[in-house]
């Protein structure tokens, strides 16, 4: 177990170093960084001096190592456009994105899993068929369309919910939260639903197919033959056996929700990292793009690590304790 964690951590470091290499390469591939920093009328001498002070004359390996060390310390350099440290910009934007993503995933899980269990158990039920039809819509409609339709109905026509922004936020040190004010919560509803809908239908369909699979197994039949209550069989025995794939997918989806909340953030003018990234791409703001790349990679690596640890918690077959007498799982 311990060795496993160490091994996984080392792998994670390797992944992060690779990502850092790609981020580092961004600076060199997208033209001369000096040109991006200075005006057209800067003299060659000044350029040379700037090049020297920024360390751009050192060998690539030295520069890469410096980049890795700085990045590890959270120093992503200065934004070309805004002339501010990228770190500060990210910290300002991160809470908005993380709050939106995590609320969406929680929403998706708390609605998706029960719906999946229900449609798995009552395969031919009327309500189950309705859920399945709705899920088809959720899985096939593009996110921006759902967002725009929500804005049209609840924002423009009914005027119940704000159509853009994050509402009022409360600050706790560097973290700003919109979860504690009425306007913040109201502003969160539509983006969260937009972002959650696809994840929810995905989780629902996954849980359903896993449930159908598990309900056919011998140990479920045997559990029924022992007279256990439906509740114990369906939720105690069946649902837990569907969890491993659900954890995998949810973990991956949380990562991509954080990384690709861009569309939802654009539609709702949500002041998150996704929008910052889009703006950075438009402005060729390399330090911001590189920092975003590293940060998202870090999220994925951490989430995957947590997912792996959850497997251990759920499935005893993965725990290595040598007490077996030759059984095969």
């Amino acid at each position: 177990m311990f060795a496993f964690i160490i091994r996984r951590l080392l792998q994670s470091v390797l992944v992060m170093l690779t990502v850092a290499l790609i981020a580092f390469a961004l600076f060199r591939f997208v033209g001369d960084p000096i040109n991006n920093l200075v005006g057209q009328d800067t003299t060659l001498q000044d350029r040379q001096q700037l090049r020297e002070t920024l360390g751009l004359n050192d060998s690539v390996v030295v520069q890469y190592w410096r980049y890795v060390v700085n990045t590890a310390k959270g120093d992503f350099g200065y934004s070309y456009m805004h002339r501010r440290p990228v770190k500060t910009m990210l910290l300002e934007r991160m809470p908005a994105t993380l709050e939106l993503s995590i609320i969406s995933i929680i929403l998706a899980l708390f609605i998706g899993v029960p719906m999946g269990v229900y449609t798995g158990l009552r395969r031919d039920g009327f309500l189950a068929k309705i859920f399945m039809s709705i899920s088809l819509i959720g899985i096939s409609l593009p996110t921006f369309l759902i967002g725009i339709m929500l804005i049209l109905v609840f924002g423009v026509m009914l005027r119940w919910l704000p159509t853009f922004g994050r509402g009022e936020v409360v600050a706790f040190g560097i973290w700003t939260t919109g979860l504690l004010t009425a306007s913040g919560l109201k502003a969160l509803i539509m983006p969260a639903i937009t972002l959650a809908l696809f994840q929810m239908t995905l989780i629902m369909r996954l849980v359903r197919s896993e449930m159908l699979e598990v309900l056919r197994t011998d140990y479920i039949k045997f559990a029924r033959a022992r007279g256990l209550s439906n509740r114990a069989v369906n939720f105690g025995h069946a649902l837990k056996n569907t969890l491993v794939p659900v954890i995998t997918i949810t973990g991956l989806q949380l990562g991509s929700v954080i990384a690709f909340a861009i569309i939802t953030e654009s539609v709702f003018q949500w002041p998150g990292m996704g929008r910052m990234f889009i703006e950075a791409v438009a402005d060729v703001d390399i330090p911001v793009m590189a920092a975003y790349l590293c940060l998202i990679a870090l999220f994925f690596v951490v989430i995957n690590l947590i997912v792996d640890l959850l497997y251990y918690a759920v499935d005893p077959r993965l725990r290595i304790d040598g007490g077996g007498s030759g059984g095969h799982g």
Partner: protein
């Protein structure tokens, strides 16, 4: 336990398939009834029907199932659930897949015990330990908290038996309990099952296609063919003096140590599919002694010596004479 005129149907788009057709038998307390037949003869379905776990769309179309004089096939789901495990236990074919891989043995045992018996956690655990001891799991106290994957196949089948015995059921349906096991372990499991049932006075319906298992364990045997009982009687009589041509063929196909046979008997052809069961006796296309009436009229079970046989050979007074060879 009695089964009366049981008929199991599968309604399909192309018409109704009859998987089990009008079978009746009894099992008395402490008795082991073997049920043999080829795959698809309806053995397992009969077992599933008795514990009320027929997979839809399969359904009991006719007949009744009585447990200690009380009819149980028409009970609502919840009442039947209370009978399952409490009065009728079940053991399935594959011990490797019968246990939930995510829960320890103790949890699965305690859960089952507490479903049926009013015991607190500690008492239930004590009972679970005693059960594991009884089914012959060495150092049960140590192994009770292990997970299924830490046990070998034979050990897992012992755990399955312990689970089936949790609430001391009156009847156990054992559906091919040894098929998935090594031959050397099969004998252990069968003798364990036999011993436990004699001790507790539990009746067993032992479904298998292994005549060796039947000869070893059963008191009586029912031979099934195409959803019907071909022959039912005391195990020694059925094995030694098989009456139905199908049973006869089955016995002839078993190699015996010490008997030198040039060629084992073989029953030509295969059991008909459910859609194609012929009129009259379902065995008539494969029967060596087929007569005209076999293709028209369905034979009913009739008493011949200590057995009951469904074959026209034994019709009327000269039945013995025609069968005599």
């Amino acid at each position: 336990m009695s089964v009366r005129n049981l008929r199991i149907e599968f309604p399909t788009r192309r018409g109704t398939l009859v998987a089990v057709d009008d079978i009746s038998f009894d099992i008395s307390p402490g008795e082991i009834l073997g049920v043999v037949g080829e795959s698809g003869a309806g053995k397992s379905l009969t077992g599933a029907a008795i514990i009320g776990l027929l997979e839809p769309p399969g359904r009991i179309a006719q007949g009744e199932i009585l447990l200690e004089g009380r009819r149980i096939d028409n009970l609502p789901y919840e009442q039947l659930r209370r009978i399952r495990g409490r009065q009728i236990g079940a053991i399935f074919q594959d011990p490797l897949t019968s246990l939930n891989p995510l829960y320890s043995i103790s949890r699965q045992l305690v859960e089952t015990i507490q479903t049926h018996l009013p015991l607190n956690d500690r008492e239930a655990r004590t009972r679970a330990l005693a059960l594991l001891d009884e089914v012959g799991i060495p150092s049960a106290g140590e192994r009770i908290d292990h997970y299924p994957h830490q046990f070998s196949g034979g050990m897992r089948q012992r755990v399955v038996i312990a689970l089936a015995l949790c609430a001391e059921p009156r009847l156990i349906i054992a559906d091919e309990p040894t098929t998935a096991l090594d031959v050397s372990i099969q004998a252990q499991i069968i003798s364990l099952l036999k011993g436990l049932c004699h001790e507790h006075g539990t009746a067993v319906m032992l479904v298998t296609h292994d005549m060796g298992v039947i000869a070893e364990a059963a008191d009586r045997v029912a031979v099934m063919y195409s959803g019907r009982i071909a022959e039912i009687g005391p195990v020694q009589e059925v094995i030694r003096t098989a009456k139905h041509p199908y049973t006869h063929g089955l016995m002839g196909s078993i190699p015996l140590i010490g008997h030198h046979v040039k060629k084992l008997t073989q029953i030509d052809g295969a059991m008909p599919r459910l859609q194609e069961i012929p009129a009259g006796c379902p065995f008539n296309p494969r029967c060596e002694k087929v007569m005209d009436c076999c293709r028209v009229e369905r034979p009913n079970l009739q008493t011949v010596q200590k057995s009951r046989v469904a074959c026209h050979l034994f019709d009327g007074a000269d039945g013995e004479a025609r069968a005599g060879e």
